[in-house]
Symmetry: C2
Subunit: 340 residues, 2 copies
């Protein structure tokens, strides 16, 4: 089933060519090709044959421009080199496929501040996508808000409390509490919490705040270390605290957990006898073999909910209420955290 038999330049074939070859008007060709409206079976047959013969490929973009609507949903994604985002991306795609939604993705480098993000946003909006799924923290509610009544916007992964932006997000505070409770139950009372600052990673920040609160409420002594986005940052400081008496380092992500383990090993410290370590995400393949103590975040649930919400918005229209769904993961006790 070759799409172009002759040397016909496939992309150059327009519906006019097909119509001419079949001896009908463009209007008729349009109808017959999509099987909607009125036309005689014979005519359709002829048109279909002509299209096949010429290797006609419809220019979706022009079609959607003319029709004034799009079946495409835009996805703004954060750097997929982080497996947690990669998996989210993958699941969003699967779910969208399942539901017959077309997804077009643009990613934004983590480095760019604002400008590129907005650029990417405009690129998607410029395609006149039917909806927007935002899976990056790099873009603010304020930047999104102006478009929220043009097109439904669903934020995936991260919570959003402002305006008409819908969300399907992780319950990060709960994740933090789950881990903190676990560490407390192991008897730790002098704990380091290592996380990216709110501007580096808002989810990490939420987790860290919840850990802190839970630990303090239980009477534990807590050292907060706020780092940048790079996982190595703050690790030395954390190890310093351990030498000063802390028995556990709670990291806001598995990446940081790995960094701490790496540094501990280099420093001649043994996990978990010299210090307990925890993380968060649970996405890393091999996390089980490493015995990571973590929370497996519900990527699948968030992806499914995001797409489902979007589809609801697209079909039944925006009812005016903002949908906000939250999902929490489960604790995965590992061998990196042990009783004091």
């Amino acid at each position: 089933m070759s799409s172009s038999d002759a040397g016909t330049p496939a992309l150059r074939v327009t519906i006019s060519d097909v119509a001419a070859a079949a001896g009908v008007s463009r209007a008729t060709a349009t109808r017959a090709l999509k099987g909607e409206g009125r036309f005689s079976p014979e005519t359709q047959q002829r048109i279909l044959e002509a299209a096949e013969r010429l290797g006609y490929v419809r220019n979706t973009v022009a079609a959607e421009l003319a029709a004034g609507r799009t079946g495409t949903v835009g996805l703004m994604l954060r750097d997929a080199s982080n497996p947690a985002y990669g998996l989210l991306f993958s699941r969003l795609q699967d779910e969208a496929h399942r539901r017959g939604l077309d997804l077009v993705t643009v990613t934004i480098g983590a480095d760019e501040q604002g400008a590129k993000q907005v650029n990417a946003l405009h690129r998607l909006l410029g395609m006149r996508v039917a909806g927007l799924i935002v899976a990056t923290g790099g873009i603010s509610a304020a930047q999104l808000e102006p478009f929220a009544d043009q097109v439904p916007i669903v934020r995936a992964g991260r919570v959003e409390s402002v305006g008409r932006i819908h969300t399907a997000h992780y319950d990060d505070p709960t994740h933090g509490r789950l881990l903190a409770s676990h560490v407390l139950s192991l008897g730790h009372r002098n704990v380091v919490v290592l996380a990216g600052g709110p501007e580096a990673s808002y989810p990490e920040h939420l987790r860290a705040m919840a850990m802190r609160e839970t630990l303090i409420n239980a009477g534990a002594s807590v050292t907060m270390i706020s780092a940048g986005a790079a996982p190595e940052e703050g690790v030395d400081e954390a190890l310093g605290s351990v030498r000063a008496g802390a028995t556990a380092v709670m990291c806001a992500s598995d990446y940081r957990q790995l960094a701490v383990m790496r540094a501990a090993r280099a420093a001649g410290l043994t996990v978990p006898s010299d210090l307990s370590v925890t993380g968060c995400d649970g996405i890393l393949p091999g996390a089980d073999l490493l015995g990571l103590t973590t929370v497996r975040i519900p990527v699948e649930d968030v992806a499914a909910a995001a797409v489902e919400t979007m589809q609801g918005l697209l079909t039944s229209g925006d009812t005016g209420e903002t949908v906000r769904r939250s999902f929490s993961g489960v604790l995965v006790p590992g061998t990196t955290a042990a009783a004091v």
Copy 2:
């Protein structure tokens, strides 16, 4: 810097609105907005202000349709849940950003056979992308070929020997040889090679073939196990061979390596004293902590080369010769493989 102050429906604002508001014609507005052609500074100023005030977002799709060309490069991607693809995706994006290329991505579920792939391809082509980067094995050369003279096509990651499809790919045979030589140097002479079959994963197949050849040439005895895509497949069989005398299991991917280690642990076998294990990829965060014996594939090089090739094709035009660049990674000796 709000993009729409009033309640103006941002997306509804067309260039005609902007032109009217600024008291000029659409043509002038077009020129001033993109800063090309001739126009007076004052006029431009007025137009820019009007655009800002109204929250104008250019309809890129219409613009590109009218202009008949695009600055956008389309990227067809495979499931990003695999970190190796996620990283490739990420690096392709970075590289494209660096070179001022806009990337639009569509992914295709691994499950769909043909139809959806072609659909995604058409979607991209319908956007009149300037070029196409294909980072999935899911689409065949035959499906790509018809469009190769419409638009430059670069395949990233996987080798392609047919027609006018350019490539920037991994030198998988070399990867296989590197690993096999390492295993041989450790004294193993009875080895299992566990890989996905050619249809499950062509790169894995290439690695496995090279391993086999290298091992056999050195006089080792080799057991080939061809599995499906799932990493657990064939693991039991591999362990069976170990009980029957094999001392090493060479996996064609790190995923499989993890699966083997998991199964070995469950079966009470110790790595590397009871059996040596190797993989391939080296992408997994934490691979170092696990001590994986692997080859780190040159994702960055492949991404850079793919984008560079594309840009060359775009700017200096297609010279008629097909560009094929191959990159090999480096061996990462780990603690999962030891001397017999």
